[in-house]
């Protein structure tokens, strides 16, 4: 941790990584120095399963604007999708 504080949430779901699908139980978000994204800072988002070891991790590094846009489309998709599936 260089500058950012990691926000953590318990989640239920699955993610697909290099080794195929795995169940995820933890989401992490921190705005800090990225490893791969071509920017000085990025929103680093992890989907992980700590019980399966450090390697059970799907990682994304997004610009701040991209991260906020992601939040917006998740909210829109949830609202529309849940309404549709409720009938």
């Amino acid at each position: 941790m260089c500058a950012g504080t990691v926000e953590v949430a318990d989640v239920e779901g699955s993610a697909k990584g290099a080794g195929g699908w795995f169940s995820v139980s933890r989401a992490r978000a921190v705005y800090d120095h990225p490893f791969h994204a071509q920017s000085d800072e990025a929103l680093i988002l992890d989907f992980a399963n700590p019980e399966r070891g450090a390697g059970s991790r799907l990682a994304v590094e997004l610009s701040a604007d991209s991260a906020r846009e992601l939040v917006r489309i998740i909210e829109r998709a949830l609202e529309a999708g849940q309404a549709q599936h409720r009938g």
């Binding site: 941790m1 260089c2 500058a3 990691v6 953590v8 933890r26 992490r28 921190v30 800090d32 120095h33 990225p34 490893f35 071509q38 920017s39 000085d40 680093i44 992890d46 992980a48 700590p50 070891g53 450090a54 390697g55 991790r57 990682a59």
Partner: protein, 248 residues
């Protein structure tokens, strides 16, 4: 024709904090020595390729260098994945880091080709840990802290793993310290660097702090967009000048 050059670079195991067996990456010139030792502390990303390149760069300049894997206990695994676990936990425990550095220093001094001197250099979180170790141990002969964030940490930055701001340990600094920073960095900011300088001055320590214009955080990291060629080239000259002066 230039003289023969060679080095050996390999994974090593050594006794770290609490006697735990800890891994590290080491490189040394092939020769009889005597060689000074340098401990290289990695960024938050762990013992990745960039850090191993720095270790080999040290060896190419005539130092026996070792980078302890400060995330060894959270592994095994890809360094970036293990680093994510460490980030979530709130960073490395400071007491464990200091113990691992003490073990790395003992390893370097035990080598038959050691000249008995050991320096330390660290980057980003490793820059903070360099300041921490240099203020906590008496077994280091020179230190270089590169853009260590949270050396002058506020109360909100402290946690159980890192309970004391390194700047509050300045009285214990036992070796000359070189600090290299970027003027565009936010962690540490130029204001925080000034605070560090005042504290070093107040305690009468041997130090030099240098801030590069047109550079921000991680200007040595040549695999990221933060890399700044002019700052890095000048910075390396200062690093080796510092170590040559104090470890030679």
């Amino acid at each position: 024709m230039a003289g023969y050059e060679g080095m050996l670079a390999e994974t090593v195991m050594f006794d770290g904090h609490d006697g735990d067996l800890v891994s590290g990456y080491m490189a040394r010139p092939l020769g009889a020595g005597p060689y000074p030792g340098v401990i290289v502390l990695h960024e938050i990303f762990g013992l990745v390729t960039h850090v191993k390149e720095i270790v080999r760069k040290m060896a190419a300049h005539g130092y026996a260098a070792v980078a302890p894997d400060l995330h060894h206990r959270e592994g095994p695994g890809d360094p970036e994945d293990v680093a994510a676990v460490v980030r979530e936990a709130g960073g490395n425990p400071d007491a464990r880091t200091v113990g691992d550095v003490a073990g790395a220093a003992a390893l370097l001094r035990s080598l038959p080709y050691s000249n008995g001197k050991v320096g330390i250099i660290g980057y980003c979180s490793g820059g903070r840990q360099t300041y921490l170790a240099a203020c906590s141990l008496e077994s280091l002969d020179a230190a270089v802290s590169c853009y260590g964030g949270r050396i002058a940490a506020g109360p909100g930055d402290l946690n159980e793993r890192q309970p004391v701001a390194p700047i509050d340990m300045t009285a214990g600094l036992s070796c000359p310290l070189l600090g290299l920073f970027g003027a565009e960095d936010a962690s540490p900011s130029p204001g925080q660097v000034e605070v560090i300088g005042r504290e070093l001055e107040r305690h009468g320590k041997s130090y030099e702090l240098h801030t590069y214009e047109d550079a921000g955080h991680a200007f040595f990291a040549d695999y990221r967009p933060s890399y700044r060629q002019q700052a890095a080239v000048d910075g390396w000259e200062r690093v080796f000048g510092w170590f040559d002066k104090h470890l030679g």
